[in-house]
């Protein structure tokens, strides 16, 4: 689960994301250092989740490269792509649990596919993963029978099933109460510190951003490109773009409600 010592992390180079004639973002470049927590920020609708989907192999970019340890994902053949994807763990917004399967079955599916463990070993391992996120005892529940927060946690257990080197989170705090959000932040920090997992998070929850981010990129919906890079705490004070400072200071304390 730790990033290998010679790992160069993730490198996104001159990425263009396009839907038909609609340009989502153009010429986006950034680097994610191995074993660090990286946050993708931006206003609503700027393309953060779309960027994530490009990185995890769901959408082919219109231009540019996404490199994992120097190897370009989209230039690799199918088998190589599958091998690369096995190093990812992804938590989708809302968990994206398979609704006809119990929590244990959800976590067990990737285990059954990619490990040579026996069914009983898989059940034990799945239980362990669920207990890590505080869902011990809920193994036989269906996703519809648990709350949204619990579904997210189960989704996280599934994302961690194969001990991935890189974890991707799409709006992990959305819909979580402040305490749960705080617990999730602590879990991410724990994963980074104890296991050296590289973590990429799409979020715009400021409390989480400042709590966990080592580095970040800011996507702008007006100019449709990345405009700021660096640790959020530094950007908050010193970024040359007022928009980024406003974003990180929640409207810079000015009277009235600014652009939401």
């Amino acid at each position: 689960m730790t990033a290998p010592p010679d790992s160069t992390g993730i490198s996104v180079e001159h990425l263009d994301m396009v839907f038909g004639s609609y340009v989502v973002q153009r010429n986006v470049s950034f680097r994610v250092a191995p074993g660090r927590i990286f946050v993708i920020m931006g206003g609503s609708g700027c393309g953060k989740s779309t960027l994530l989907r490009h990185m995890i192999g769901l959408i082919r970019p219109a231009a540019g490269r996404i490199c994992y340890d120097g190897e370009s994902y989209w230039d690799a053949d199918d088998n190589r792509q599958t091998a690369l994807r096995q190093r990812f763990g992804i938590l989708f917004q809302g968990g994206a649990l398979w609704s006809s399967m119990t929590l244990a079955e959800n976590v067990a599916l990737p285990l059954g596919l990619y490990t040579g463990l026996s069914p009983r070993e898989i059940t034990t391992l799945a239980s362990y993963k669920l207990s890590l996120v505080g869902l011990r005892g809920f193994e036989d529940y269906l996703p519809a029978e648990i709350s949204g927060g619990m579904r997210k946690r189960a989704g996280l257990a599934r994302a961690m099933a194969l001990d991935p080197a890189i974890l991707f989170f799409d709006e992990p705090s959305a819909g979580l109460d402040p305490l749960s959000s705080h617990r999730l932040d602590r879990l991410l920090l724990e994963l980074r510190d104890s296991l050296g997992t590289t973590i990429v998070v799409v979020t715009h929850e400021l409390a989480s951003i400042f709590a966990i981010a080592d580095d970040s990129v800011f996507l702008d919906s007006e100019t449709r490109t990345a405009i700021a890079w660096g640790p959020p705490k530094t950007l908050r004070q010193h970024c040359e773009h007022a928009l980024v400072r406003d974003f990180l200071n929640r409207g810079s304390g000015a009277a009235g409600i600014g652009a939401l």
Binding site: G57, R85, Q86, I90, G94, W98, L113, G258
Partner: protein, 411 residues
Amino acid sequence: MIRAIIVTMAFDQATAPKRQRSNNRRGRAMKTGKDEAGTRRLIRMEPAGPVLRLAVGGVWALSDGLTDPATVGEALGAGGIDTLAVRCEGLERADSALMVYLTALHDLAAAAGVRFDVSGVDAGISALVALARAVPEQAGTGHVTESVARIDRVGSKALAAAREVNSQIQFYGELALSFGRLFTGRARLRWRDVLEVLEESGPRSLLIVTVIGGLIGMILAFIGAVQLRRFGAGIYVADLVGLAMAREMAAVMTGIVIAGKTGAAFAARIGTMQANEEVDALITLGISPIDFLVLPRVIGLALMMPLLYFYACGVGLAGGMLIGTTVLDLSPTEYWQQTQHALHPIQFMIGLGKSVVFGALVAIAGCMRGIRCGRSAAAVGEATTSAVVTGILYIIITDAIFAVLLEIYGL
């Protein structure tokens, strides 16, 4: 907040109506909005040189509709005005109806390049108007509706149809690859899912297949009886019903029923999974959604349809026998023997073959619409209805092909 407005704008209720009447003689009172509401809302324009003063008062309630400031707009357009000053006078009650009116005035003033002065309006109301206009309209986020020339629309539709065909062909390609993996044992599916499909599409469809199969048999017998009776050839109704059911109707009608029932269910189920990102979760784990979701359904329906076909045949023959014995006064034994005489096993083989193919097609149509579904509730509904239409279309086209092929081979 509205209560605060009422409190701060506490005017003597008793004198208000009188003031309205006297105001009617000064300035121009505009009774706008609904006629019945005209007496509730009061808007008075008082031109004063370069300043256009507007007094609003009375009762502004949404139940009376909204007011269009067209008259004010005309006055501004006439020119010579540099300030539009609004104040509240005799305002008893106000809700969003007033806010919308004032916001519209703000826009009119901005468009005419005229200063908008709301100092005479209660602070709470003017703050809301300011808030509504604080954030400039975001460029590029609105939907652009251009009026497109008809020939452009025809072109776009043609291109869209071509893309649709392309997308369907892609699906068939992936499906073929998936079957290839199935036969080499490399497909990733759960056989438990096949059993679930069998249960969903089989026992639960018996009632509707009984009703439809039985009624079709009876209708065929009835139509045949009316004509054949005239030639004293009523007994041949047994042939008619037997052949028609075994060769065509049982397979086709069951296929159509299953398209509406199970095909739609597949599309809805998979479409909803698309909306929940469940399909994406499969893809990112390296599981082909075609292997995992589509194959079990195609296999399940292809296995279940022949069973339903035989059942429909049986029920259809029974329906035909019922008509034969009641309308034509044939005896059940006569009817049954005639049917046996007319029906060669090859007819059942043909019907059986058709039912397997139809089952697979219905599943394919349903799954394809589900996988190609958009990510909203409306898209799921669209995919569901589309699955039924596509399934039925596939059945009928294939049936026609079967008819031609069987004719060629002399069957």
